[in-house]
């Protein structure tokens, strides 16, 4: 008989409290989190489109909110989630084809996704404010 007081003390894997932190796992959960964030954020964009169909007054108030400080912060967060989910989604599609699954490419592509997310987000906002 195993002693029940000694039995469960050994570490179990995966055990998040003691699991060594890795970029690949951070991006994995971030993909899910950004997907959920995009669904929540879509409410703002649904409002924008429905308001346009409802008429000039409704559209003006939607545009007013999106152009406000809070609206711009929300839209910025949404854009980060969008570009991350896009770039990491492409990484997932490459994995689905059976390529780049080894540890090295998996970590390298994680870095590439983060760099691309930052670059695309900054670029989009620079262009958005430049064309205004």
């Amino acid at each position: 008989m195993t002693d029940q007081t000694d039995g469960p003390t050994r570490p179990l894997s995966p055990h998040l409290q003691i699991y060594r932190w890795q970029w690949t796992m951070a991006l994995s959960i971030a993909h899910r989190a950004s997907g959920v964030a995009l669904v929540v954020g879509i409410l703002l964009l649904v409002w924008w489109l429905v308001a346009a169909a409802a008429g000039p007054d409704a559209f003006a108030s939607a545009q007013g909110f999106i152009g406000s400080f809070i609206g711009q912060i929300l839209l910025f967060g949404w854009s980060v989630a969008f570009f991350f989910h896009l770039c990491n989604g492409i990484r997932h599609l490459i994995w689905d084809s059976g390529k780049m699954l080894e540890l090295g490419p998996a970590q390298g592509s994680a870095m590439a996704v983060l760099v691309a997310t930052g670059t695309l987000t900054i670029l989009a906002w620079i262009i958005a404010y430049a064309v205004k």
Binding site: R32, G35, V36, L38, V39, I42, L43, L45, V46, L49, V50, A52, A53, G55, P56, F59, A60, Q63, I66, G67, S79, F82, L86, G89, I90, H92, L93, D96, A124, I127, A128, V131, K132
Partner: protein, 126 residues
């Protein structure tokens, strides 16, 4: 001994009860959303602060309206498939799981239809 055929005995079994259908559609919609999503973001960048007339003029071109409708279908389909997996992973009570799946999918369908109808309204207005 069962009178069912071997195929009939295994149909509907397996953890997902639906084979690769969900998985495949998530990839197809993801692939479609790469160009469609980029088109949307670029459009939003150039429509920021636009007047209502600009908005009607933009959406009411048949090309923009067609792309917008495809975008709406792919987005809400992909979103439904995605949140379904999240709910299935974290909600373990069968009743609650079914209720939340129906509620979230119903809500997304409502939002998707509202978007699609808005595009059609703008198309007719223009």
């Amino acid at each position: 001994m069962s009178l069912k055929s071997p195929l009939g005995q295994v149909r509907g079994l397996g953890s997902a009860k639906e084979g690769v259908h969900h998985w495949w559609l998530q990839r197809v919609t993801a692939l479609a959303l790469i160009p469609l999503g980029l088109w949307f973001v670029i459009s939003v960048i150039f429509m920021a602060g636009a007047s209502h007339d600009d908005m009607v003029a933009w959406i009411s071109s048949p090309f923009s309206a067609a792309i917008a409708l495809l975008l709406i279908i792919a987005t809400f389909w992909h979103a439904m498939l995605g949140v379904q997996v999240v709910i299935e992973d974290y909600v373990h009570n069968e009743g609650l799981k079914l209720a939340s799946l129906l509620a979230i999918k119903g809500l997304l369908m409502l939002l998707g239809f509202a978007c699609a109808l808005s595009v059609i309204v703008l198309l007719v207005q223009g």
